[in-house]
């Protein structure tokens, strides 16, 4: 089960992670919808680009620029959070959306927890695979922690001060009382 567009749905993508002795060059990619590591994609591109059921995932220390023009062929790109406190994935997502124009599914995988979902959706993630030991219904609530934001990001192109008329001193009265 995953959260996609704020709804819990069944999911048939498999995330492939290299195990033990497996190498990006030699690992065998099974049939079916598979999200492969960036390294695997780069090593096996010639073969994999023949398939239309391949997604790719980026580790937090990898650069989305490495996907180059391939980026638009994917219907899903995932970003891995090795631990929730590693915040590089937020800038990777931002860059994928804002700088590289990726408009397909952007999925957060790894140590994905309720209390980070609000920020994740702001920087462009639309799909979340919460950690399996957690209640996904509970995680869904994390998307609604705040109803308003100050600053621009992927979900909100205009800062609050350009979107609404905010109260100035005249209306608010003296701050001294």
């Amino acid at each position: 089960m995953i959260i996609k567009n704020k709804t819990i749905i069944e999911d048939d993508w498999q995330v492939l992670r290299l195990q033990g002795q497996e190498t990006a060059k030699e690992v065998v990619i099974p049939d079916g919808k598979i999200i492969v590591p960036l390294k695997v994609w780069l090593e096996q591109r010639a073969v994999l680009q023949q398939r239309n059921d391949i997604g790719v995932w980026l580790a937090s220390d990898e650069r989305p620029e490495d996907l180059t023009e391939d980026i638009h062929r994917f219907s899903v790109i995932a970003v891995d959070f090795p631990k929730f406190s590693d915040g590089r994935g937020y800038s990777i997502a931002y860059n994928l959306r804002a700088r590289m124009g990726y408009s397909g599914e952007l999925r957060a995988i790894g140590d994905v927890l309720r209390d980070q979902l609000f920020y994740m959706q702001r920087v462009g993630f639309d799909t979340f695979e919460p950690r399996p030991d957690r209640d996904i219904n509970d995680a869904l609530k994390g998307l609604k922690d705040f109803s308003e934001v100050y600053q621009t990001s992927i979900d909100q192109k205009q800062p609050l001060f350009r979107r609404v008329i905010r109260q100035g001193m005249d209306v608010a009265g003296s701050g001294n009382d």
Partner: protein, 581 residues
């Protein structure tokens, strides 16, 4: 001062609800401590030696009397009757229960306050000049920009899990009183030759384990671009800052590793995409926010009050206070008053609930209901009529907040130290007490003149020891004794410099003696009374100080036998010193 509108209020109310639920999940063990840790830290909650410590944000140090009364209420209801003002212009409460903290935050939200991002690896509370808006040397009032940055950084989705904490300071005067060279980003608001407002942007400064003076990344950034440029700096840091080693994770290490030119190239490359985009500040927004920082209703007064002059001549205590704790104001007939929270014998920056209530009352009566918390852990009344100074001095004297020692030897900056903090190697507050009591004599302090003495319980430098003229750092505990390093030559302000370690570390009871010897060298070597301590150190170098401090050795007599046990680690359970004990 800034007043929340419905949007600001809604966001902090929602934060309280979110946090309340996080605490509920922690108490029911749904969240592990590891998972709860970064959540509580982004709400300023630390687990310390005695319990939970809550650090409440005081944006750029500015606070109303109503908010101060709320601190008094929190001290009384949830804590042990006092709070601690910090070097980052915030306040900390040390004795809280986890289950009370959601209620405390709810109470704070009723007076437009919060503890958001006062800890954690995110953008922290923005700090600024404690004399902003009233200083005679001010070029541009930094407060509107500090508030704009506060809002921008609050819940920024991309920068909540940075490699390490991130501190921004902003100053708008000719003399830097916000230590902008010692921050991750330092901003100096200024005007160019055409009279346009902009920022000199510094990056990669900071104290802590590896102290570094910030480098200039942009000489003049037009005001419109403040938020987008800062965003680009943070994005580069978030992607490339080191995460493999906590001690090398601050932006200063990245800037050093890349060099300022390469770092600037990366920032400007990122910024090219944001420049002039929707994140650009509008004149309307700056004017809206600046509208909250206009002058209070000053009376038209003549400059000099003759009664005051007479009283100064008659009363030495008052004239000392006038000389050291009162600063000139840009409006005729007004003065800036620094309340000394440094009475020798008290913990630097600690204030009781009764003092807080009383200070709030005085602020209402004498300073338009507002005050500021300084990074030197004192308080400021920014707008006092000169004709009120005698009355105010009388009131403050009764409250023990009129020690005429601002900028003097006993105006000590001190972190909470090992009695409270799990990071500290050694105690800070009792050492500050020992030093303050040894040099309490005012004539001696005035003879020494302007000097700063900063104490940190460990190399993390919350006491900003690197930029103290004399800096003291707790380095280790061994054989039941605490050891401290002394450095000299540090300074803040426009000629910011980092202190250099004098020599081998010393024990708790040796430190005051060593300071005495340092001061003896200064008194011997200074050209005249006009040469400040820091100037003498810069002129003659460290060697004469080092030679004199270590020449004689330290005898056991400098250790008071009765108190020797006081440094045993196990006895930290009850801090032997605070206003309450």
């Amino acid at each position: 001062m800034y007043c929340y509108d419905e949007y600001d209020q809604r966001m902090i109310d929602e934060r309280v609800a979110q946090y309340r639920d996080q605490v509920r999940r922690r108490l029911s063990n749904e969240l592990t401590e590891t998972e709860f840790l970064p959540l509580r830290l982004q709400n300023g909650l630390y687990m310390q030696i005695h319990g939970y410590m809550l650090r409440i944000a005081v944006p750029y140090g500015l606070i109303s009397s109503r908010q101060m009364r709320m601190f008094a209420h929190i001290a009384r209801k949830y804590d042990r009757g006092y709070g601690h003002f910090t070097t980052r212009q915030n306040i900390q409460f040390n004795w809280l229960k986890l289950e009370d903290t959601p209620d405390i935050l709810a109470d704070l939200a009723t007076v437009q306050m919060h503890a958001i991002q006062t800890s954690g690896n995110c953008v922290r509370n923005i700090t600024s000049d404690e004399f902003a808006g009233v200083a005679q040397d001010e070029v541009v009032d930094p407060r509107p920009y500090a508030e704009i940055l506060r809002q921008w950084s609050t819940f920024h989705p991309e920068f909540a899990y940075l490699p390490r904490k991130f501190k921004i300071a902003i100053s708008g005067a000719k003399e830097d009183r916000a230590a902008i060279l010692a921050h991750d980003i330092g901003l100096s608001v200024t005007k160019n030759a055409q009279g346009e407002t902009g920022f000199r942007v510094l990056v990669g400064g900071g104290l802590g384990r590896t102290p570094v003076i910030g480098s200039e990344i942009c000489a003049f950034l037009p005001w419109q671009h403040l938020l987008t440029y800062v965003e680009s700096i943070l994005r580069i840091y978030n992607q490339f800052g080191r995460r493999d080693n906590k001690f090398k994770a601050r932006i200063k290490i990245l800037v050093k590793a890349l060099g300022i030119d390469e770092f600037r190239r990366l920032v400007e490359e990122d910024w090219a995409d944001l420049k002039d985009g929707p994140g650009t500040l509008t004149r309307e927004e700056v004017e809206r926010v600046a509208g909250f920082f206009t002058d209070p209703a000053y009376e038209v007064l003549v400059g000099n009050d003759f009664n005051l002059k007479e009283f100064v001549a008659d009363n030495r205590n008052f004239s000392n206070w006038m000389k050291h704790n009162v600063r000139p104001h840009r409006v005729p007939g007004y003065a800036i008053v620094v309340l000394s929270v440094k009475k020798p014998g008290n913990a630097p920056g600690d204030m009781t609930d009764a003092q807080m209530d009383a200070v709030a009352e005085l602020a209402d009566r004498y300073s338009f209901g507002e005050m500021r918390i300084t990074h030197k852990q004192n308080l400021v009344f920014a707008d006092v009529k000169q004709t009120d100074l005698i009355e105010l001095w009388n009131e403050l004297s009764r409250l023990e907040l009129a020690s005429p020692n601002i900028g003097m030897l006993t105006d000590i900056i001190s972190c909470p130290g090992a009695e409270f903090c799990t990071l500290a190697n050694a105690r800070s507050i009792p050492l500050s007490k020992l030093i303050a009591e040894r040099f309490e004599n005012l004539d001696f302090q005035y003879d020494i003149g302007e000097i700063s003495l900063n104490i940190s319980g460990c190399m993390n430098a919350c006491g900003q020891h690197h930029i103290g003229n004399i800096g003291i750092t707790g380095v280790e505990k061994k054989n039941h004794e605490e050891w401290y390093q002394i450095s000299i030559g540090g300074a803040e302000g426009n000629s910011c410099s980092l202190g250099k370690i004098l020599g081998p570390s010393l024990t708790f009871y040796q430190v005051p003696e060593a300071i005495d010897r340092i001061l003896q060298v200064y008194l011997r070597e200074r050209i005249d009374e006009g040469e400040r301590f820091i100037d003498t150190v810069r002129r003659i170098g460290h060697t004469p100080f080092k030679d004199h401090v270590y020449a004689a050795g330290f005898t056991e007599e400098s250790i008071k036998p009765d108190d020797k046990d006081a440094v045993v680690a196990a006895q930290y359970a009850i801090p032997f010193f605070s206003p309450r004990f």
